[in-house]
Amino acid sequence: MHAVEFQPIRVRTGSEDKEGRLALLDGELIAILVRLDDEVHDSERGKWFVEAQFGPPRRVEPFGTLDDAEAWLRAQIAPPATPRPEPRQARA
């Protein structure tokens, strides 16, 4: 069983979305989540957005809870069917 850990971190996003989590998988940083608190997000407020991710980037919808985010993170490390491409910088 892999270990998933969320460490609180403040993130400068240029918006009111500041409350973040470093998502660690077996002690390695795999993503940075940010809670959507800015009023511009309307019905998405309170959800956890994948602000940055390491490894093959994939655009995902915000998660309702950190538990949902953990389930997604665990799914990310399912053995790849093909060799992974080189890690890319996270989407701006």
Binding site: G14, S15, V40, H41, R59, P62, R91, A92
Partner: protein, 263 residues
């Protein structure tokens, strides 16, 4: 203007054919004979509701459609269901001119608002282009223009950061609509209707909806735009163009200087 417009009230300003004639005239100079030939082309009009599929990827057809009013998006669909909007289709634009020459479409087109559309049979278009070099040149230039815009979109998603990217897209919409008399404003202000959702903008810019929300907020905080109820107000038109690095040259990439053989 069309020479016998006075005797032919259905062909007058504001009619579907007028819009097509004016649009093609922007692309290439049409003489009176060419305008008259276009005015007599057989057109059929129809309406479409928001979200209606107007063109299916791979579809071949026997007629070309021109958007008369409303807004549509041309897009590519990915195997996992994601969508990339590759262009917005504005009033006066063809939805599917490619299929006239290529036989099929390499993209789908969906209505983003209620739309009215005119269609002209390929056979009629073929006759018009064979008989009238000006019309043939205008159709050719329409495809050149679309390719120029597509190249600019590659630059946009490939090189510009979020604020510049969205600003550039808004500049393009504003400049395009202004040319067609569909943007209002004076001085440094402009306004136009842009019936898109944040998800549509995300699909056009390669940003997440979260980043689209933040970027709109950023442009608002810089007092460059307001965007509410699908109405864009550009508060500082020169400022927005400057941020975006926008130059409208690519929207009319034709040499119209006196003496040019393409004049």
């Amino acid at each position: 203007m069309i020479p016998n417009a006075a005797q032919n009230p259905v062909r007058m300003k504001g009619t579907p054919i007028h819009l097509l004639v004016e649009r093609l005239s922007v692309l290439a100079p049409l003489d009176d004979v060419e305008r008259q030939a276009l005015a007599e082309a057989p057109l059929r009009t129809m309406v479409a509701a928001r979200d209606q599929t107007l063109v299916r990827h791979g579809e071949g057809m026997a007629e070309c459609r021109v958007l008369l009013s409303g807004l549509a998006a041309a897009h590519k669909l990915l195997p996992d269901g994601k969508r990339q909007i590759v262009s917005f289709v504005l009033p006066g634009d063809f939805l599917d001119l490619d299929a006239y020459a290529a036989g099929r479409m390499d993209r789908g087109v969906t209505a983003l608002s209620s739309c009215s559309i005119a269609s002209i049979p390929h056979a009629a278009l073929r006759r018009l282009s064979a008989d009238h070099p000006g019309i043939a040149l205008a159709l050719w230039r329409d495809t050149l223009l679309n390719a120029a815009v597509a190249r600019e979109w590659v630059v946009n998603v490939g090189q510009r950061m979020a604020a510049e990217r969205l600003a550039h897209l808004i500049c393009e919409m504003c400049a395009n609509l202004e040319t067609r008399g569909l943007a209002q404003g004076e001085g440094d202000e402009r306004s136009f209707s842009w019936p898109v959702t944040q998800a549509d903008i995300a699909d056009a810019t390669g940003l997440s909806t979260v980043h689209v929300n933040r970027t709109i907020q950023d442009l608002r905080a810089r007092e460059l735009i307001q965007f509410r109820h699908q109405e864009v107000t550009v508060l500082d038109w020169p400022g927005l163009q400057s941020l975006a690095g926008f130059s409208p040259d690519y929207l009319s990439p034709f040499d119209k200087r006196p003496g040019s053989h393409l004049q």
